[in-house]
């Protein structure tokens, strides 16, 4: 991404270790990151400088996240806000969204998940649903829901098709099991059994997609999730 297009993002988080990890990680993902470690500082920065996105911790010293958010919205700031919190009660979720948050992520979260959600907030437009998706010689055509690898047709089950489609949409990005559980399997909670299902389905998909190919496309990143990209076998 050229530097002029690097989206500016403000991270308001008081736990310094986490804040610095996010700063480094998001910078690596092509964001221009600013940090604030209290609600008061965060509010000041958010109201004086233009940001494309805000990542806001719920529990902050001085002025808590929801207060900052409400004040921002009252002052007419429309910047998309993602709230981070260790509380995942339904009531808290509603409070956060009512206060004007655009998304909500419960700690501990996977970094890949945060990045995916931030990109979604930036994009706000879905990719063209009908356009064929491709990566190297892998092509998936949504019109007849069929895929080919180097011209060889792939026998995909419905779930495998949806999984591959999701990976293609997010190609080059890390995709966590949480994201797959929610987006491909449409499960809100994440059970151990579902993790096993995801792993098995991924293994089967890999056998179909990467079998006999000189270039592997589906990669497991241990402890994090999966990524689809061109990489020598």
């Amino acid at each position: 991404m050229p530097s002029s297009e690097r989206p500016r993002i403000l991270v308001i988080e008081d736990q310094l270790k986490l804040a610095h990890a996010l700063e480094e990680g998001l910078r690596g993902e092509g964001f221009d990151v600013s940090l604030a470690s209290s609600g008061t500082d965060g509010y000041f920065l958010a109201t004086t400088e233009p940001f494309a996105l805000l990542v806001l911790d719920w529990m902050l010293p001085g002025r808590d996240g929801v207060e900052v958010l409400k004040a921002l919205r009252r002052a007419g700031h429309e910047v998309p806000v993602l709230i981070l919190t260790a509380r995942d009660d339904v009531d808290d979720r509603i409070t956060g969204l009512d206060a004007g948050a655009d998304d909500y992520l419960v700690k501990p979260f996977a970094f890949a998940e945060l990045v995916a959600r931030l990109r979604a907030l930036l994009r706000r437009t879905r990719p063209d649903a009908a356009a064929p998706r491709r990566c190297a010689d892998l092509i998936l055509d949504p019109r007849d829901r069929r895929g080919t690898r180097g011209g060889r047709p792939l026998e995909l089950t419905q779930r495998e098709y949806e999984l591959l489609d999701f990976l293609l949409i997010h190609q080059g990005q890390l995709v966590s099991r949480e994201m797959l559980a929610r987006e491909v399997w449409q499960e809100t909670g994440r059970a151990t059994s579902l993790d096993n299902v995801i792993d098995v389905t991924m293994a089967r998909l890999r056998r179909k997609v990467d079998l006999d190919a000189t270039t592997r496309l589906l990669h497991t990143v241990r402890g994090v999730g999966f990524i689809l990209r061109e990489e020598p076998a």
Partner: protein
């Protein structure tokens, strides 16, 4: 009332004394009224007799006598009123002593109850006479303390188990981190170590989430999202989802899901409970065996069963498998191939039971060693009117 004596004894004594005083006063007024009436009637009669001889009806003689009667009556009033004060005092004292006697066991109860804290819940308050009011109070208190004792013990065991389960992945995390920092490692080996640590972290996250869910179901703070649902449909969705796992182990899934079984449940929680049963069946059954998922109505209840041809569960273990952190290492060994690093901590069945019981249902197991196991979820029917 602004002033309130702190002791029930004092309050009873005062009430007793006041009641006695009022009664005495009423009694005095009655006596006075009656005596006065009698005295003047006698005077009138005498006057009437005198009137026959003396023409003046109310002469000086009458006045003198009347005045003396009034004086006598005045003295009577004084005497009567004088009795009230000591009477009230006596009544108060007697009341105080009586109340003290009657309430003595309450003081003993208080002293004992104060000694029983969270650390000494094995003690009980004394029961003097189990049949009277105070005896019943003491018995009730003892039952309450016994329940507290049981739940504190469960809580302590749960906390200890949870700490132990948390300690295992923490130890692994620490070991992997320390060992990979000790020597110069190439980036690939470091990546490997980090990945391994992240896997342990994933397991920890799962564990903490399960513990939270259990804690919420314990204190009822997380209300169920109850909806109309079809139990067969819920089971079918679970089967669709987990079929891949059975397929991978070349296990045959026999699906016998009856026509719609209307229930009112929190769909995602009940699905997770069914998924847990099916996941266990797949995990613990050898490859090539058959697993049956069956649903049917039984009277006013709906039933989902998961039957496997696995190693079975010994009768002694059948009750304890639903307890938290119970994993039967003897008969049901973990399979690392399907279990992975994020494998269960032995909370799955406990969670399933908590879920099903929160819906007013039950979860049961039929099994014998070597003869497979049948796990059964029983839920109340949805009434047709609702």
């Amino acid at each position: 009332m602004s002033w309130r004596p702190k002791s029930v004894r004092v309050r009873l004594a005062l009430a007793y004394s006041a009641t006695f005083g009022v009664l005495l006063l009423l009694h005095d007024m009655a006596v006075y009224g009656w005596v006065r009436h009698e005295a003047f009637e006698a005077l009138e009669e005498q006057g009437a007799r005198d009137a026959a001889s003396v023409p003046i009806v109310r002469g000086p003689a009458y006045d003198t006598q009347s005045a003396s009667v009034e004086q006598e009556l005045g003295e009577l009033v004084m005497a009567l009123l004088l009795v009230i004060a000591p009477g009230m005092l006596l009544a108060g004292a007697a009341g105080y002593l009586l109340a003290k006697r009657a309430l003595a066991p309450v003081d003993r109860l208080t002293t004992h109850a104060a000694r029983i804290t969270a650390d000494r819940l094995d003690e009980r308050v004394p029961v003097a006479n189990p049949d009277d009011e105070l005896g019943r109070l003491a018995t009730t208190m003892n039952a309450m303390i016994a329940r507290l004792d049981a739940s504190f013990a469960a809580l302590r065991r749960f906390t200890a188990d949870a700490s132990h389960e948390l300690r295992t992945p923490l130890t692994a995390l620490r070991a992997i981190g320390e060992v990979s920092l000790r020597e110069r490692r190439d980036p690939e080996a470091l990546r490997e170590a980090m990945g391994s640590m992240l896997e342990e972290l994933d397991g920890l996250t799962h564990l903490v989430e399960s513990l939270l869910t259990l804690a919420r179901s314990d204190d009822g703070s997380h209300p169920l999202e109850i909806d109309d649902a079809d139990l067969s449909e819920l089971a079918r969705r679970v089967v669709d989802q987990l079929a891949t796992l059975a397929d991978e182990k070349r296990q045959r899934l026999i699906i016998d899901l009856d026509a719609p079984l209307p229930v009112r449940v929190d769909r995602s929680l009940v699905r997770r409970a069914i998924a847990n049963l099916l996941d266990n069946a797949i995990r613990y059954s050898p490859p090539g065996t058959a697993i049956t998922v069956r649903s049917r109505p039984i009277a006013t209840r709906c039933v989902v069963e998961v039957m496997d041809q696995g190693p079975g569960i010994a009768p002694d273990d059948q009750a304890s498998i639903f307890e938290r952190f119970r994993r039967l290492d003897s008969s049901r060994t973990r399979d690392p191939a399907v279990d992975g690093a994020s494998g269960g901590a032995g909370l799955g069945l406990a969670l399933a039971r908590a879920t099903i019981e929160a819906h007013g249902g039950a979860i049961e197991v039929d099994s014998a060693v070597g003869a497979g196991a049948t796990f059964r979820i029983v839920l109340p029917n949805r009434p047709p009117t609702s």
